[in-house]
Symmetry: C2
Subunit: 532 residues, 2 copies
């Protein structure tokens, strides 16, 4: 336990305030237990990381495996883009998003059978959903268009959203389909299901549909062929998890009425602030360093993100993708050394989570560090005193719980960082996202991994593809032998396939009307029969 005096001095030293123009973000790492000696040791790798970040921002292809530039930092500062063409492309994307949204709001772009678009259905997954979901929930409490998401290939989930929108609702819904490759199956399936719902309602889908996709992609071709309302091109140098400031995030944000210019300005301000290679004044580098310190540069501790503000509840989930998909890598960059890196992220919001898992954080397995996120302004307008004994408001309580929990964790040797912003608005959300994006980039350089690919996802997709082809063969076999009972083993032998996979498929088909199942004592004893 440190003495009070020394804690105050440590707080004075380790509270880094980035104040410049509208930017007023604070990062306090006084409860991480970092000694200044360690920071000095890390100075050389930090300087290397700054140089590599500089090369990345200048357009060098650091995403070697995919042979692509990494350009999300240019999106909020087009003058940084390495060519005038890219600069123009970025500015055009932003202007197009704003202009389209304003035409929709004014009713100049309107559906055939309603006066105005009043609802927005976003079809997309991963970065194409999480960014827009975060921005909408944090900034558009009363969005210009009531907004829904289809971010999965769950039929029941799709039905639920469509039924909530309702048949009447479809007529005034704008459907934005987002997929860079245009081939993401969840998104394609969602789009096809929505299109079928429009057709069933006697409405023309194309007159409601917008595509955000790579030029020339499968989705782009469909949109052209069918004459969709609008298409917004996605650049190949923007990855899904950093696409929230490209048209992927800007189109839904502008449609919901978010001030996208302020959003970009916040990110730009943070980028500029964190280009300075002065390690101990650079919040993005300090954040990366704290991750390194907590987990020994090997992700040995989870990051628990606790925003004390309801409208930031999705920020933890957003960071889960940004951080884990970027840092969870098997091999080092440029060689084949197996490192199995990563940084697990979870969390919802405070003080709510104090009534969920903070018990474990304080007393249980010490396998994490916390990131508290403070929003200094409680609310717009005055507050009720809710407790005469201490004159406190609801917001005073929220602050008290944040400080109390931070103290209780520290007292028991649990590490935490506290990030503080004045208010949740477009500018500050932009700044927060940029802070973490840059920390991810810098951390990846510190531990020498490629933060911009996701090779591990391919294995699962490939296995799924093989599984679906086998499913079709099983389905055909059953159809060809109606009324005949099969075991998984016998069918697998006929098809030269794995009996366990065949069993999963048979169970799935039997659960969805394509066969009848008679369960035995174990999977080998189950019998499946197609309807005669």
């Amino acid at each position: 336990m440190m003495e009070k005096e020394s804690l105050w001095n440590r707080y004075r030293e380790q509270l880094i305030r980035s104040r410049e123009g509208q930017l007023d973000l604070w990062l306090d790492f006084s409860r991480m237990g970092v000694a200044s000696g360690w920071l000095r040791e890390m100075e050389a790798p930090c300087q290397r990381a700054f140089r590599e970040l500089g090369r990345l921002e200048a357009g060098e292809k650091v995403n070697e495996d995919e042979d692509r530039m990494v350009g999300h930092y240019w999106l909020r500062d087009p003058d940084m883009a390495p060519t005038p063409e890219l600069r123009e492309e970025i500015i055009e994307g932003l202007e197009a998003a704003k202009a389209f949204a304003s035409r929709v709001h004014r009713g100049e772009v309107r559906p055939p059978h309603a006066e105005q678009f009043r609802k927005l259905l976003c079809v997309g997954i991963g970065g194409s959903a999480l960014g827009p979901q975060l921005v909408g929930d944090a900034l558009a409490s009363f969005p210009a268009l009531q907004t829904w998401f289809l971010d999965n290939t769950d039929p029941d989930g799709i039905d639920r959203v469509l039924r909530r929108i309702g048949l009447q609702g479809l007529a005034e819904t704008l459907v934005v389909v987002t997929s860079k490759s245009g081939g993401t199956p969840e998104t394609r399936n969602g789009m096809l299901e929505v299109r079928a719902a429009y057709e069933a309602a006697g409405l023309e889908f194309a007159a409601h549909a917008v595509a955000i996709t790579g030029p020339g992609s499968q989705l782009d071709k469909v949109a052209v062929a069918e004459g969709w309302i609008a298409r917004f091109p996605m650049a190949d140098w923007v990855g899904g998890r950093t696409s929230v400031m490209s048209v992927v995030g800007l189109v839904p944000a502008a449609l919901q009425g978010v001030d996208v210019d302020a959003f970009l300005a916040g990110a730009r301000a943070m980028d500029r602030r964190t280009r300075s290679p002065e390690t101990v004044r650079n919040p993005a580098m300090l954040l990366a360093l704290m991750w390194h310190f907590a987990g020994n540069g090997r992700g040995e501790k989870d990051m628990v993100v606790l925003p004390y503000k309801d409208r930031l509840v999705l920020f933890s989930k957003y960071l889960q993708q940004l951080v884990m998909e970027s840092l969870g890598k098997e091999f080092e960059l440029g060689n084949q050394k197996r490192v199995c890196q990563g940084l697990a992220v979870y969390g919802n919001k405070g003080s709510t989570d104090q009534h969920a898992y903070v018990q474990q954080l304080r007393d249980g397995v010490n396998n994490f560090f916390a990131v508290f996120l403070e929003v200094r302004q409680d609310r717009e307008g005055a507050s009720l005193v809710v407790d005469e004994a201490n004159g406190a408001t609801s917001g005073d309580y929220l602050q008290g719980f944040l400080r109390g929990t931070r103290a209780a964790l520290a007292e028991n040797g649990r590490q935490s960082i506290t990030i503080s912003v004045p208010v949740v608005d477009a500018f500050n959300l932009g700044a927060l996202i940029a802070l973490f994006e840059r920390a991810v980039t810098l951390y990846a350089f510190l531990v020498n991994i490629n933060a911009y690919h996701q090779p591990g996802v391919e294995a699962g997709k490939k296995a799924a593809g093989t599984f679906l082809l086998l499913m079709e063969r099983v389905r055909r076999h059953l159809r060809a032998h109606p009324g005949e009972p099969f075991s998984a083993e016998a069918l697998a032998a006929s098809l030269g396939a794995d009996p366990e996979n065949v069993h999963h498929i048979l169970v799935h088909l039997a659960s969805n009307g394509a066969a009848w199942m008679t369960a035995g004592d174990d999977p080998a004893a189950d019998r499946f029969t197609a309807p005669a």
Copy 2:
């Protein structure tokens, strides 16, 4: 890598199907890599745990620190309750919840200035929010009453919910305030803010309010004094995180139109199935054993919960509380051996999360095991073929992604369990909750901790209380010296307080209109002045 044949045999052996009456839940632990020898070694501790669970269910006080019985298993099987009085109390609670909901639905209980209650606002936190949120989202897609939650003391969050309900909406809103002790500050603050909103709207709060609380609690007294519509008593032998089958969960569920009898029946069926001390056929014990195996009985691996079904997205969050608050404990039961136990839980849903952090799961740091949750029925009604090439539907894809990801993880040495239910309905949700509740109880016995208290939460609350009292002293001091600039150090010296805490307080007050802040180079140089 295991050979295919041996994997099929392992799957045959390690797929445990609980089929009895309506229950049809499967647990597959074939991808955990458990040898049968290890299961035999654990048999003696398992038998001890079964005996202890028997004593707990018989009403013995296992929650020693709090000197309370642990009775949530009786809620769905009142005949298990240790006395006829408790049995009656449980049955009365259920009947009262159903009768009240049906009177609300029929308009017999109605608001003074609207025909019917059409909206429901639940004020509560922790178990008083997570259970009702899960049940509502999973089972009440189109709830009888449109439902909102206040589960925090965030002023902006409260304003947002109240503005969404709207002034008109308040007149037809039923407010259910839930707090066992009646003193939970977040809930009390939420209730006071809602009451103020009613008063501001010229509406009588008491005519809209319902209390779910311990008899004689502060909240109970307020409800009696003000003549609230109804009160439902909470028993002291039900903990917050296992209260979803008490009036805490049943009242909101019944109001939303959920079949609460089926919900209880599902849990009862799972309880009965898992009372059998035959370890290798008992899914709750097997789940507890897998946690033990994966984390060496010390929580060394996180549990990542991946339901492949949109309507189960909150299940992971629900389990996060149930598991982490129950198992995250500092000391062994009955002695003071410091063990810092726990099991970290996170996750959202598949296949969505495949586009977020599955990259890290497959390739990155191997600090987790996955729990896949399969729902065998895709949707009600027929499905569109979305891919002519393989004849697949959206649901086939969902199944393909689940199986593909499970295979890709296993291939890279990552462990997983797969739990499968036929459909998401009240019965199966009840069964799933009971399965995990019982696994938690059994695991706690295996590692010898008390799963029913939360002493670690007290430290944070106490620190928050001290902080709030100091805040009031700071506020008074500022008020007494208007126009006079203070530093945190000077003010702390006057008050005999910690300068860092005083600084946090001054920043908070300055951010909310009670003082003016002039920022210096470090916190000691900041100056704060109350308005003259």
